[in-house]
Each structure stands twice: as C-alpha cells, then as structure tokens.
C-alpha cells in the first residue's frame, strides 16, 4: 500500500533528527573510540619541558607530564616525542597509552574506592527504604495522596541547589570567623545529635574525615534517590494482582511472610530495575558531590592533588579541553564498567526474578 515514491517523504521527516544525531551522537561514538586508542608522536620537544629538557610543573608543583615506562606522556593527547632520525614530523599511531594513563593515574584507586563505597552503601539502603515506604503507602487509605506527593518532592529539585542546603545543614557555622560577637552554632544536624546526647561531628568542614564526608554523601544520595524508587515500586505494587494477598489472608499467613514470599517476588522486576538504575547513577556520581563540596570535590583546606571525593565523571571533566585522549579512554572505561555491572545485575536478577 505504501509505494517507494513516498519513501523520500519519510526521510524528509527524519532529516533534522538524523543530521543532529550524526553530529552530536554518532560522530562522538566513533571519535571517542578513535581518540582513546590514538597516540600522538611529535618531532618537536613537547610543551611539558623547557629548552634544557627540564620538566615543567604547574603552580602546585605537579609535573605537567606523566611518566610511563620510560616514555613521557603529555597531558595533551598523550603524545610522545619522535626519535630524532624519524623522517615524519607528526605521527598518529594506534596505542593503549591513554588507557594506561588512566589506569596509572594516582587517583584511579580513589575513584574506584569512592564509586564502590557509594554504590555499596546507597543502592541497598535506598532500595530497602523505598520498598518499605512504598509497601506502607500502599497499605494506607487516608493521606496516601498527600504523603505520596511529599515523598516525590525531592525529585523535582535541583541537585546543586539542594546540595547547598544539605551543606548548610551539616556545616559548622562560624568556626573560622573572627567575629566573636556572633554566636557560633554547630549546625542543625549536630544540634539534633546533641539532643540525643551525642558529640557533634565535623562533617564537611576543614579537617573533616573521609568517612564523615562519605556519610554526608550517602545521606544526600539516598534522599535524592528515594522519590524515583518509591514511584516505580509503588506503581508496581498497585498493579499486583490482589488474588495472591487474598489467598494469603485465608491461610492467615503472617505479615512478614507475605512481604518476603509474595510482595518481594512479585515486585522483583521493578526492584531489579531500580537497583540497576541505582548502580548506573552511582558510577556517574558527580553533581551531588559538587552540590555539597563544590567543584574541588573535597572539604576546604584538604591537600592539593587528587580530590578526596574524585569520581570517574569528575576525572573526565578534569581532562576535557587539555587531554581529550585520556578523557575518551576514561569515558570508554566508564561505559564498560557500567555495562559489566548492568550485565551482572541482570544475570543475578534473572535467577531471582519470579516471572
């Protein structure tokens, strides 16, 4: 019924999207792979050294060049100096140097540690809390709508803006001020702790410990992740066939058994979904850390060098503009990591999902 002379019309409708996708989606995919695997050789002494071959350093004393197995790899595109007798001036070659650069980066283990810790703490915690809240919400009649709205509220917020609110809540106010007249408070969170007879904690200020920082991040990320998870799980609960619950009622099955033997198995596809999206979000954590700690991604006054709360995405953005090859390699690694974790999750959930 549709003849070939109409085909060009369809392509006309698709044209704007295809052009934009070619430029901003398809080309980046190829180019990222290309840049990640390219090593750039230059006949000139690269710009990380002065004329006498002395290494140049940035204002913090970090060398502008990384060293790898006798090669000097620049921060710029990972280029290497050509041998003096090489006739070529510039040469591009396939190589894994960018990946090696990422893997040997001082902060690589910091990144992995932060990512694993944040994922392992936030994903189970937020999923469990969301499940509990969703089940409770599903079990009540009055106020259900109001509470549902309140629980969804954190979703429609700006993660930088609310990160600043969390920072203010965990902040110790006025510790550094010379203004003696102003009273100093330890912040609302610490005040609450003191009400319960606990000592105030330095959460995010100068000299705060790594685990205090992580605790703040976990609280913020869980708070941020709850609305989406509750929405998905509650939607799942409301579509569950009531027959199973009626059968359980007749058998007078205890509530806890109903929860573990009926609710969780029936919800398992939705649980798998929120766990997978939770892991993906955990691997790409960036703006929530910037919201609380600023772009330095560490408490003020911490040592120069690798930021304490560095993440993969933070590292990619650090390299943007001066070392695209390294940034590309890092982005590809991130993609592979996310893909692998998703596959593992899917594998586990296939065994556990009851559908």
């Amino acid at each position: 019924m549709v003849d070939s002379k109409h085909q060009w019309k369809a392509w006309l409708y698709l044209l704007p999207a295809i052009i934009l996708l070619l430029i901003f989606t398809v080309w980046p995919i190829f180019n990222t792979v290309r840049m990640a695997f390219t090593v750039y050789w230059d006949a000139e002494a690269p710009a990380g050294f002065d004329e006498d071959g002395m290494q140049l350093c940035d204002e913090n004393g970090n060398p502008l060049w990384g060293k790898y197995q006798g090669y000097t790899i620049s921060k710029d595109l990972g280029n290497k100096k050509l041998a003096d007798d090489d006739p070529a001036k510039v040469k591009f070659e396939f190589g894994l140097d960018n990946f090696i650069h990422v893997l040997t980066y001082d902060g690589f283990w910091t990144i992995m540690k932060n990512t694993v810790i944040l994922c392992v703490l936030t994903v189970p915690l937020s999923t469990f809390l969301a499940l509990l809240i969703a089940v409770c919400l599903n079990a009540i009649k009055p106020l259900q709508r109001v509470l549902q709205t309140i629980f969804f509220l954190p979703y429609v917020t700006n993660s930088i803006a609310i990160g600043m609110v969390f920072a203010a809540m965990f902040n110790i106010v006025g510790v550094n001020t010379t203004d003696v007249a102003a009273s100093t408070s330890v912040g609302i969170v610490n005040t609450v702790l003191m009400v319960f007879g606990l000592d105030p904690i330095n959460w995010i200020n100068q000299g705060s410990t790594y685990w205090a920082n992580i605790a703040v991040m976990v609280i913020y990320i869980v708070w941020n992740a709850l609305p989406f998870k509750i929405l998905i799980l509650l939607g799942g609960l409301q579509s569950v066939n009531k027959q199973y619950y009626d059968a359980a009622k007749i058998d007078s099955t205890p509530k806890w058994r109903v929860f573990t033997r009926i609710t969780v198995p029936l919800l398992s596809p939705m649980i798998a979904y929120v766990v997978i999206t939770g892991f993906i979000g955990g691997f790409k954590e960036y703006t929530s850390i910037v919201g609380i700690f600023g772009e330095k991604m560490q408490p003020p006054g911490a040592a120069v060098g690798v930021p304490v709360l560095q993440t993969m995405v933070g590292y990619i953005y650090d390299n943007l503009g001066n070392a695209e090859g390294v940034a590309s390699a890092a982005a590809l690694l991130l993609f592979v990591l996310i893909f692998a974790v998703t596959l593992v999750n899917l594998g586990v959930s296939k065994k556990k999902t009851h559908y």
Binding site: H6, Q7, K9, A10, W11, Y13, L14, P16, A17, L20, L21, F24, T25, P28, N31, M35, C136, I140, L143, I150, F151, F152, P154, Y155, V156, T157, N158, I160, A161, I162, M164, V165, N171, G174, N176, A181, S183, T184, S185, I204, N205, Q206, W223, L231, I232, K284, T287, V290, I292, G294, P299, P300, I316, Y317, L320, G321, A331, L334, F335, F339
Partner: protein
Amino acid sequence: MAKQMKVLTEKDLQQVTVQQKIFKVLSQIALYTFLIVMAIIVIFPFYWMIISSLKSLAEYRLSIPTLFPKEIMWGNYLQAFQKAELLKLFKNTIIVGVVSTILSLVITIITAFAFARLEFKGKNLLFSMLLGTMMIPGELFTITNFTTITEFGWYKNPNWFEGYAVLIVPFLVSVFYIYLLKQNFMQIPNELYLAAKVDGTSDFKYLCKVMIPLSLPTLISITILKMMGSWNSYVWPRLVAHKDYYLITNGLRSAFTDAGSGEADIPVQMAAVTIVSIPLFLVFIFLRKYIMKGVSRSGIKG
C-alpha cells in the same frame, strides 16, 4: 459434650476478632508513624532552606538554632538577587528552556511520526540503533561535542547567537522522547490514518489535526521534563558557555563557592536557593500527574 465444644469455639472466635482488631489498629498506627517520620525527614531540608533564608546572619549563628525566624529578613532575597545576578541567570535559563523545548518538540513530533506511521526501508534497524545509543553514558558524548562546538566557534562565545546555540543545539534530539511519543502514536488506530488517506488528507495535516491532539498528555510530559532539564543543567553550560550565558545553577554554585568553609552568608545563599527551587515546586504542584507519568517511564532526571 458436643454443645460445650461449640460454645468454646464461638468464644474463641470472638476473642480472635478482638485481637485482630487491636492488631490492625496498632499496625495502622505503626504504619502512619513510620510514614510521617520519613515524610518529615524528607521534607526537612526544604523547611530548613526557607526558614534559614529569612533569618539574619546573627540569628542563623545562634548556638541553639531557632525553628522559626524571630525577625523576618526579606532583605536576604534582595541581596541574593544582586549577589548572584539572578535576573540575568533567570533570563538565560528561560530563553534556553523555551527555545530548546519548542525546537525539540517539533523534531520529536516529526521523527516519532515517521517511525510510527510512515514506511521506509531500514525503519526497524534505524530505530533499534537509536535505542542502542541510550545505553551510552552522556559523558562519552560530551568529550567530542566539546571539540565539535569549539570547531564551530561556539566555545565561550560572547555573541548572543553562539552563546545560546551552544546550550541548545547539542541537546535538541532526545531518543527517549522520540521513543515515548512513538509508543503513544502507535496506540492511535491505523484505521484513522487510512480513513484520512482515503479522504485525501495529507500526512502533515493528519499529524497536526489528529495525532498531536490525541497525544497531548505525552507532549506535556516531554515539555515539563525538557524545561526542568534546562533549569537543572549544570555541567555543560559550566564547560562551554560564556559567563554572560550561564544558566541558573551555574550562577548559584559560583556565586557562593565556599559552602564548607563556614564563612559564607548562609541566609543569603539559602534565599538564592529558595528562589531557584520555588518555580520547580510550583510546576510540580500544578502538573504533578504529567511529571510522574513521564518519570515513571524514564528514570532520566531532566
């Protein structure tokens, strides 16, 4: 003997129902207590944001925090507007939000229409490839797009056209929105389309008169999510936009950099954060249905 047993059972039954009732009431109380405590925890940061934004700095620093400001300081809001240049940021955000939403809607509609109703070679393959790109993390695109827009001469360009284009153009096509709308278009019975064809209606007229009105809820969801996206975007404008074309979130973070040093004038900072958050709350209150519907199908923030 048999009679006695019957009586006992009835008594037992009565006892059981009373127990069940007590248990039910108690469990309801437990449910509500848990939910309300959680709701208070969830909502507390918003309360604290608004309360702090109305306090004077001296009151904010009291060693025992007050739960309500003694003296309401509207001046904090005025200061916030001045310090963060909020008016300029609002203007930029609204321009970028509106223009990118309109253009994005047009592209999404015609693309989804082609995929849902028109026939052409390689349709399914092309659509699967589009869906495949959704798996790739956005950071991977950012790197090359950064180079591309630099080639275009859009990088931190102070001209108005380039200044806005760099924030709008790279994000005009969203595969997810196309997918969402295509699904919606497919639900409209094909008979309607064939009937229109018989009557000699053009594809374009059919799209405008039948398909768009019938999928209005999805289009509204897309509009809200897209607007929220530009309201919340942080990383891309921060990387490539000229300072004059920063969006609201960038200005917010850079005007109050030292969040953790304890030196910042937090009431003014909270006033700025409140100003940024209020429009989102209003949109949410009035259009909750559409937002939740869109979100439950995506998991994409903005």
